[in-house]
């Protein structure tokens, strides 16, 4: 059997070509992988490009707040106050009954801002469901004004309270989470003059391999 004899210099150049080809391939793959990433960019918080995850997201609060305000304004409840003065609203407790920690102002502040901009409601910051003033300085100013004039500050016409509930279900590799936002507006008589709830259900599928 004849074994081909390859000269050393040719063998060396072949190996060099193979090694440089492999290196070029690795560089190309690395370049492609690094090109898959992207720099941070701004997206509109109320727009359609926000990330959707199984957990509660900023858009869930925004969608709930918007639908609740829509429902409240359309109900006409706030029009029943006599005179042109806007109604005074105090924010009571909104309970977080989910397994996640978040600031409840993500919901209540958006509702307050929207109602304030509607021109139908003013919110007091000296009275809250926790028993402590949201703005202690404003409460002191109000107390001093009351002492000076002898006139009592107007009491709130309405109290806003609510709850956020999380329920989960699993079937095979599918996971479903429902977030229920419940809100009630109670008047001075202690009657809930408006109530509504919004539900957002999210489903995801666990991959067959991994988590």
């Amino acid at each position: 059997m004849n074994i081909p004899i390859i000269p050393m210099d040719r063998l060396f150049s072949q190996r060099m070509a193979w090694a440089s080809g492999r290196l070029a391939g690795l560089i190309a793959v690395a370049t492609l992988l690094s090109a898959c990433g992207s720099n941070p960019k701004y997206v509109e918080s109320s727009g359609p490009d926000t990330l959707v995850t199984q957990n509660i997201n900023i858009q869930d609060f925004s969608m709930a707040a918007e639908r609740m305000v829509n429902s409240l304004l359309a109900s006409g409840v706030l029009e029943k106050k006599e005179g042109d003065e806007p109604a005074v609203l105090a924010v009571s407790r909104v309970v977080n009954n989910t397994g996640q920690h978040f600031d409840m102002d993500l919901l209540t502040k958006q509702i307050r801002v929207s109602l304030n901009k509607s021109g139908k409601v003013l919110t007091t910051t000296t009275l809250s469901g926790t028993g402590q003033a949201e703005d202690p300085l404003a409460k002191e100013m109000k107390d001093r004004e009351q002492f000076r004039t002898g006139k009592k500050a107007p009491t709130p016409d309405y109290s806003l309270s609510g709850k956020i509930i999380e329920t989960q279900a699993r079937l095979n590799r599918r996971r479903q989470t429902t977030y229920t936002f419940q809100l009630a507006l109670t008047d001075k008589r202690g009657l809930a003059v408006w109530e509504d709830q919004e539900q957002f259900t999210k489903q995801s599928k666990r991959p067959a391999i991994g988590w």
């Binding site: 509109e44 109320s46 727009g47 359609p48 926000t50 959707v52 858009q59 925004s62 969608m63 707040a65 918007e66 305000v69 829509n70 429902s71 304004l73 359309a74 109900s75 006409g76 706030l78 029009e79 929207s114 901009k117 509607s118 021109g119 139908k120």
Partner: protein
């Protein structure tokens, strides 16, 4: 045709049928023949740049009402003219009488089945809002 080929063809047919069966679930609807609701339709101007979305979320009606306190309420009636479900977002933007933007609403996520009708409603954020624009986007 050998045995392996016939198994392969049957397998492909079963998989294709199951895929088609799950993705082409369409909605049947029933409603009053002569609706009693008094419509206040709005003449609309439409700019369609996504023809597939325009088929899947086809606007068939645009009506308005006024809520107590003078808040404008708008309803967009859409129908999915295809046999496939579609995910989309809709977003209302509100303008005052001078055409200045007052508020851009939250983009709402929605899903519509093949053949399904849906009504998308929104209430103006203030009585000063006199005009609106709705943007539909494929998700």
């Amino acid at each position: 045709m050998n045995k392996h080929s016939s198994f392969l063809i049957v397998g492909i047919a079963v998989v294709s049928a199951s895929i088609l069966g799950t993705s082409c679930r369409t909605a049947n609807t029933v409603q009053r023949k002569e609706p009693v609701a008094q419509h206040e339709p709005i003449d609309s101007k439409r700019v369609n740049t996504d023809s597939s979305l325009a088929d899947a979320v086809s606007v068939v009606g645009l009506r308005k009402a006024t809520a107590p306190g003078g808040f404008l309420r708008v309803q967009l009636d859409v129908v999915n003219r295809t046999s496939r479900a579609k995910r989309f977002t809709y977003q209302f933007t509100w303008f005052d009488e001078k055409g200045i933007r007052i508020k851009q609403g939250q983009a709402m996520h929605a899903r519509i089945h093949g053949g399904q009708f849906r009504s998308l409603t929104s209430t103006a954020p203030t009585p000063k809002a006199k005009d609106f624009r709705v943007t539909l986007l494929e998700r």
